[in-house]
Amino acid sequence: MIAPVVVLVLAVLVGVWATRFSQRAQALLLPSCTALALLAAWHMYSVATEYELRSTQADGAVETRLIRIFPTPWDTLPAMVELASDGRLARYAMASLFRVLSGFALAAFIGIPLGLWAGWRRSVFLAINPLVQGLRPISPLAWIPIAVLSFGIQDEAAIFIIFLGAFFPIVTGTMTAVQSIPLVYVRSAQNFGLSGFELFRRVVFPAALPQIVTSLRIALGVGWLVVVAAEMNAVNSGLGFLVIDARNMGNRYDLVVAAMIAIGLIGIGLDWTVRRLERLDEVRWGFRNQQ
């Protein structure tokens, strides 16, 4: 119990001391100190929740075992190695990614055209907006029973739930993007004789594109959040299934935490990938005030 306390105190001290350094050094040191402090606190919590289990053997001897239900950071490292080496990590990660990308792609293919149309045509907006706003606050997870009823314990059920999670941010974001196009762009275009599809292709779509990219980024984030819950209920593979399965099959909380870490890292990777889009010449102007 001494080591984590020392680490915690040291992390806090180094953190305080680091504020004298340059911005760059701080940007490196401060989050490292926070992470170390959290790891130490986690370790202490694991150790503090240990308990002794006494059992009387057949010969009358009393055996005492130390039970640690909550894994320490050290316990999760072998669990990660276990998941990586028996192939479960790769298999389940691929299953989860497949579902998220399918649901997300479906949401984008339907949501972007629908959002463009509704953003541009007042009548379409009036027709669908109340419905969109009414369905949006229903958590996609509430659809799990219906999804399972309709599709069975299948990929389709999970994809449907992810589709719902990604669809609403995309359609709402795209609608808003089109509605907030500055009048001066549309007037310039009309002035130079653009109309109909050409106006759409040359002005409406490119003008809305940065905000569409932002909504895609949000939607993919939601999709990745939702897949875990969907896989806990609607299918029997994937990282979400791994989390719930590791608990149900012998309280392997080390595997639970290892799977959680994998979920987090892949989520960061997905977000990083979408952010590459923001650097394209065609949309970069829309992110001018961000770094």
Binding site: V184, Q190, G193, L194, A207, D281, E282, R288
Partner: protein, 251 residues
């Protein structure tokens, strides 16, 4: 007599908006005639209806009363032969300088487009920036792109809605000179909205002084001084103080 037909004829044109339950008279009935090839400034404080009047003439809005004719025909809407240069953001940030300038030329053969775009990039001094995007350019350069985009279609009227309003004062002076130079090549009628007395005096053949609440034409001032004009040009000081007096500032 054909020559006496004005390029632009505004007769009793007015504009009223509905703001909630309230009727706002943005422009009281005005009369105005502009000759072909003339440079006319609409001068006045904000809210005097000068942009409204130009949007009516440009066809972006329909007048509530009266009529507007160009070349003897009523204005039905925006027209690629009569091009706007807006104060800001008129050019497309998602397109390169080249693509922006080529906007009005998209129906021409490729080779013809290339020739005209290159010529107009040269004309506004943006050679070397063809592939740049607007967010990589200064405000003055962006307005040069807007001017080049407008001139590339060989318009017979150019509407300029405070095109220099968002620029720093040095760039403003420089672009003012260039707009005059481009107009002097001939063939274009320019309608130029500004609230800058000096800008109007330097550029315009006639200055239409407008006043607010409701927007209306107060007086039309003939400038009649030879170019190039500076504050040392004979007659400048009198005209300037007359204009300022009309605008309700200075003695």
């Amino acid at each position: 007599m054909k020559e006496s037909t004005p390029k632009i004829r505004v007769r009793g044109a007015s504009k009223t908006f509905l703001r909630g339950e309230q009727r706002v008279e943005a422009l009281a009935p005005v009369d105005l005639e502009v000759r072909a090839g003339e440079f006319v400034c609409l001068l006045g404080p904000s809210g005097c209806g000068k942009s409204t009047l130009m949007n009516l003439i440009g066809g972006f809005e329909a007048p509530s009363g009266g009529s507007i004719e160009i070349d003897g025909l009523p204005v039905a809407g925006p027209d690629p032969r009569r091009v706007f240069v807006f104060q800001e953001y008129g050019i497309f940030p998602w397109a390169s300088v080249w693509d922006n300038i080529a906007l009005g030329l998209r129906d021409l053969p490729k080779a013809e487009q290339e020739r005209i775009v290159a010529q107009h990039i040269e004309l506004v001094g943006l050679k070397g920036f063809e592939k740049s995007f607007p967010d990589q350019l200064s405000g003055g350069m962006r307005q040069r792109v807007a001017v080049a985009r407008a001139l590339a279609v060989s318009p017979d009227i150019v509407y300029m809605d405070e095109p220099l309003g968002a620029l720093d004062s040095l760039t403003r002076l420089q672009l003012r000179g260039e707009i005059h130079r481009l107009w002097k090549r001939g063939g274009m009628t320019i309608l130029f909205v500004t609230h800058d007395v000096e800008e109007a005096l330097q550029l315009a053949d006639r200055i239409v002084v407008m006043s607010p609440r409701p927007g209306r034409i107060q007086e039309i001032v003939e400038v009649g001084m030879p170019h190039p004009r500076t504050s040392a040009t004979p007659g400048w000081a009198e005209k300037e103080s007359h204009l300022l007096r009309l605008l309700g500032v200075g003695g």
